[in-house]
Symmetry: C2
Amino acid sequence: MPTPQSPVRLLIEAQWIAPVRATDASAHECLVDHAVAVDDERIVEVLPVAQARQRHPQAERIALPGHLLVPGFVNLHAHAAMSLLRGVGDDLPLAAWLRERMWPLESRLVDPQFVRDGATLAFAEMLLGGTTCVNDMYFFPEASIEAALAVGIRSAHGIVVVDFPTVYASTPAEYLRKGLALRDRMRDESLVSFCLAPHAPYTVGDDTLREVATISREIGLPIHIHVHETTEEIAESLAQHGRRPLARLDALGLVGPEMIAVHAVHLDDDDVHRLAGSGASVAHCPHSNLKLACGIAPTARLHEMGIRVGIGTDGSASNNRLDLLGEARTAALLAKVTSGRADAWPAGRTLRAMTLDAATALGLDARIGSIEPGKQADLVAFDLRATELSPVYDPVSQLIYACGREHVSDVWVAARPVVRKRQLADPGVRDAVCEVVGRTGVWQNRVGEILSGRA
Amino acid sequence: MPTPQSPVRLLIEAQWIAPVRATDASAHECLVDHAVAVDDERIVEVLPVAQARQRHPQAERIALPGHLLVPGFVNLHAHAAMSLLRGVGDDLPLAAWLRERMWPLESRLVDPQFVRDGATLAFAEMLLGGTTCVNDMYFFPEASIEAALAVGIRSAHGIVVVDFPTVYASTPAEYLRKGLALRDRMRDESLVSFCLAPHAPYTVGDDTLREVATISREIGLPIHIHVHETTEEIAESLAQHGRRPLARLDALGLVGPEMIAVHAVHLDDDDVHRLAGSGASVAHCPHSNLKLACGIAPTARLHEMGIRVGIGTDGSASNNRLDLLGEARTAALLAKVTSGRADAWPAGRTLRAMTLDAATALGLDARIGSIEPGKQADLVAFDLRATELSPVYDPVSQLIYACGREHVSDVWVAARPVVRKRQLADPGVRDAVCEVVGRTGVWQNRVGEILSGRA
């Protein structure tokens, strides 16, 4: 047993703990009647309850009978601010969704206030559903960070860059400069990290992509980019560049362990081998891909080929629930049906995709993603004592296939309780979120005015 | 306005009401600030709140600000008792799931007590999630009916028949005799109805199927049958009978408006035209089909061809959540991706599939499935005032794409409140369900003993 490095402040005693240790390939390990001993922010040790009480008699104790404790979920792809546009373009074909809804609305609405309000709602929703870390990509990341810190969620933020001007910046150089300066200002925020976020191969040119690759190598940042979401994008790349987007990105130096390839729906053999050989990660967003009729990523094959896959919700405009557990269940089910193998993406591997594997993709696996000594205490407790969850034959399987985000009882981020008894723990945070909810009517009116041509 | 036929006892006043009227082809109609006036069991009228209060000053009033009121959901295919086996065979290939788990367990465990306990859990779960009517198929339907009446859910029950003996009956004639006698005994139970339920083409022979068709014609009962769930089943039928299962059933007189074809995953052109020409209904069970890696039913095409599609959860052993709303969302998303059209299965049509269309399949559309005068007051209220549901651009769309069963606040069956403030309304029912939950440990132990060979 490692010696505690700082005083154990709290024992979280759970009937079941799924630690998702890196050494457990199935990620299906489940400890019974164990406690997680934590100090001010980290996990000190994981041990049987009786032993924990004996060893740390002075620690506060939280007893979770009938609960399953798992590592906090890591949402590997989000556009948090878009929660204010949830449901605005439902049931529209992709082209109309983009051209008649998203683009006109975003060009008129997006500013720091929009991002702060939208991200506040999104992060509150995520925390209440067990997501403790989110990889966000949006304009005005400083506003998104402000929301994340206020709500108490761990977050990675995209240093966004596109080759055309927006209200946020005018040139690729300006996008990158703003993002890197923000990163510099946030260097002391332990809950905040960054990715380079060139939006997509079709919105960013070769020069900018090359620069992104260089910066990534120099300062070791992940590269968060949409790729191969639609067949149109691939056809366009073949026409314009003579190669598929992934091949082009590879030639430009972006396909490596730092890459988080978002969507990766349409992959041919060459694409799959390219990803497998590179150490890149995929951020799988099943509900968004289904809802926009993009397709289904070949995730069973990705697992077989040893490619790391995390799970993302995408933004609320293309997936109206920021519910990583629901997303993971759909991911497991789709992997089975598309491979024709009911044993593809078993529960443990699915849990690992939404925790440790996503943390690794973000370069954060030394700090989060599993319940192991030395890691940050990012934890989620599920109350399995419900009619719809009885009986419990296998807690990990029950989590993936039967639980919903409504069964999340408690959430900790860096040992700080952020959700307690199914609500935001801090009354100040609760009030702030309520205030934003109250203000959504104002945003809704502005959306209505823009869409009706009145504004 | 129709004159009230009996005294209005209650006004349910909701911010939004989606009535799902048969005349509204989109099923997307949404009334604002209306009330549903109900008598002891039926809907008397639906009218603006102010007018309702004036016209029925003596009625009790339930105000639901920020809520959406919809017709109770109709679960078109379930094996309720199997909730006791939830999670027992997760992540197993279909053959192992059947041969190493379901068959040995069912042959040892199933008796009236198992069915009563399992169905009690299942029906409580369904009611809490907004399902007010369920089409169940299992052995010992008398025990399932007992559970349904105790919990307060409306239910249709299969007069089950297979060509081999089970603990429930020995011969096809005995299965049918028992089921028809039960139907006779239940004739005065207004919440109970029946279907003929020959299990599947591969478990029931020609003679029995012909008899089922005859009985259905004579007494006007729907025929609830699994068909075309797997490619193996179709290949076997071609080998044994020289035709596909649906063609065989058609030749035997079973394919008509009475038929509820469960699963219908693998359909060729001939199958689709056969269903379209016959007036048969499909019970689509997306999560079960995904989880067992059976395939994805071509539901966008079924809609295009005018085939009625309802939605079912199937049993808890193949879909660990008896959550019809979640099932419907997945149905809408899968219809989009398989058709390549993001406008397939829009929200309103999806709501209709899980209410009026399923009621029609069961022959109950004169009584339930929509919020219209004269129908039974089977109603569900969703509380849309949540962080994760803000803002509300379109309540019907919000229901299908953003809401979860956790947002169900109130449920009525035949005007009787069965769920109030997110819990079972009747304290006696609540206690009874708790008692069954407590007893699941006993079933769990028996399952463990059987699987380990100790019993």
